[in-house]
């Protein structure tokens, strides 16, 4: 039914044992991305009862430090046996989980941390993520990434009749979840009319169809299953992993209505021996409202083209039949630029039953799907409790 994937990754070959956010929102003046990563790592290690001296695998990504792996090693006073600073947008951390799984399985390291930090709200987006010139796109002054995702939304609306109201329902559901998350950035209710009537940014998106701009960071800790069992919290096992890169620029995306999540999801489900119907908690990278719709389709929660109708009527909101983005998402909880790590943190907490008012009862399996660039890099991680092994 399941086993190693075609890269030799083993189902349940590693577990996430620690997870924590750094400070979020608007961090103290002078805090830099390495401070935030170190804060996240320290808290995630405390979460599982390990110490810095146990860490021999260091994995990180940020847009604000060119050699973040060096800077973070120095800051923490460690010389990691395994290091990886792959950076391909907000999904980087899901790609990292695959690398950590491989490294632990092969004995390249025993305890791997995956860390992220961003101060984009404090320093401004332009400074946090320097725009690259593309002579074939820049003359048209696309407001990136919004304009690119808006192009994808236009195509979805054209082919499947998806409406702005349906996309707004995604933002409203995210806000309802955020109101149950004490550390979410947004604190007030939101209605569909308020989404539609907000400031237009890139048609069909208003500012409420678009993720937040916050500071933030965090870390997760992974280790082999035998060691995981001896630690403080119940291990959360990596059951499945998949990844796909389809393009870099939106003008080179083969089909704007089908993302690489189709391939990454298929690979992750095959490795996990699970299907969409077996997933209890769904965490999807919602940089824009159309993302949630695209990923619900491509990951098999509804047929292609049905995503807009699927999210109507509160189906993915608290109390709906499918809990999606239970932390409030990039739309309402936090979005420091590369959000993928926060999806993994929330999935871990849901599977441990730590989520209080927003807890999905009896959750045994979760999917955390990361997206990067302009729908360019996709990676799916399926997680499960001890009972799912």
């Amino acid at each position: 039914m399941s086993g190693p994937d075609n890269r030799g990754l083993r189902r349940g070959g590693a577990a996430i044992v620690g997870a924590a956010e750094s400070d979020l929102g608007h961090v103290a003046e002078g805090m830099n991305v390495i401070d935030l990563m170190a804060q996240g790592i320290t808290r995630a290690l405390a979460d599982c009862g390990l110490a810095l001296k146990d860490v021999d695998g260091l994995i990180c990504a940020t847009t604000q430090s060119r050699t973040s792996g060096l800077n973070l090693s120095e800051y923490l006073g460690i010389s990691p046996a395994f290091i990886d600073t792959t950076i391909i947008g907000g999904s980087s951390f899901m790609f990292h989980v695959g690398h950590a799984l491989a490294a632990i399985q092969l004995g390249l390291c025993n305890v791997a941390v995956i860390a992220y930090g961003s101060t984009q709200r404090s320093v401004g987006r332009r400074q946090a993520s320097v725009r690259e010139i593309n002579p074939y796109e820049t003359p048209y002054r696309p407001f990136l990434p919004s304009s690119a995702y808006a192009l994808a939304a236009s195509r979805h609306m054209f082919e499947f009749g998806t409406t702005r109201e349906q996309m707004a329902a995604v933002a409203v559901a995210a806000r309802q979840w955020a109101l149950k998350n004490p550390v979410a950035w947004e604190k007030k209710p939101l209605s569909i009319d308020e989404v539609l009537g907000a400031r237009m940014v890139s048609y069909p998106f208003t500012v409420r169809d678009i993720c937040l701009v916050t500071d933030g960071g965090g870390a997760i800790v992974l280790t082999a299953p035998d060691r995981a069992k001896s630690l403080k919290k119940p291990p959360v096992y990596v059951l499945g992993h998949g990844q796909a890169i389809t393009h870099a620029n939106i003008s080179s995306m083969p089909d704007l209505t089908v993302t690489g999540a189709l391939a990454s999801g298929k690979a992750a489900y095959a490795m996990a021996g699970l299907a969409a119907k077996d997933i209890d908690v769904v965490e999807l990278y919602d940089a824009f409202t159309i993302n949630t719709i695209l990923f619900l389709e491509d990951l098999g929660f509804c047929p292609k083209g049905e995503g807009g109708r699927f999210v109507e009527g509160g189906r993915i909101a608290p109390g709906g039949s499918l809990p999606v983005n239970t932390n409030g998402g990039g739309l309402s909880y936090c979005h420091p630029g590369m959000y993928g790590l926060f999806l993994l943190i929330e999935a871990v907490r849901q599977l441990r039953g730590e989520c209080g008012e927003r807890q999905v009862k009896g959750a045994e399996t979760a999917i955390a799907h990361g997206n990067g660039g302009v729908l360019s890099s996709q990676s799916t991680v399926i997680l499960g409790t001890e009972a799912t092994l």
Partner: protein, 127 residues
């Protein structure tokens, strides 16, 4: 392999300066390649021919970007009839009136200051 004497971008730009929309054709893959590059991404072959587009295409996707200051403007992806896609703008029409499936015709937006000439499109009903 011989050194590259002129970059793909320089050749593309020189055509635009003459009022032409150039693209590459990959004989090995039997299809158009855009943006211009030194290797065909469909075949791995470095033999790429330059061709001139007839300049007709169809809007594949469209959005209207609203800057915080200034007037909203249109951004599209256009599928040219020769089988390549590019980002562009449809001019001489209200930005919100640009629709997917609309036929459009290429013209050059002339160089302005630091910005070299670049391709834009106008509606081409019946073309």
């Amino acid at each position: 392999m011989a050194e590259t004497a002129r970059s793909p971008l320089a050749i593309y730009q020189a055509h635009l300066d003459k009022g032409e929309l150039a693209y590459q054709w990959s004989p090995a893959a039997g299809r158009a390649v855009f943006y211009p590059r030194v290797v065909c991404p469909y075949s791995g072959n470095t033999e790429l021919e330059w061709r001139i587009s007839k300049g007709l295409g169809t809007v594949y996707a469209t959005t209207v970007t609203h800057p915080v200051q200034g007037t909203p403007y249109n951004i599209v992806l256009v599928d040219c009839d020769e089988g390549f896609r590019l980002m562009s703008r449809v001019e001489e029409i209200d930005p919100m009136a640009v629709k997917i499936g609309m036929r459009v015709r290429f013209r050059v937006h002339p160089a302005e200051g630091e910005q070299p000439a670049y391709p834009v499109f106008v509606p081409a009903e019946g073309a």
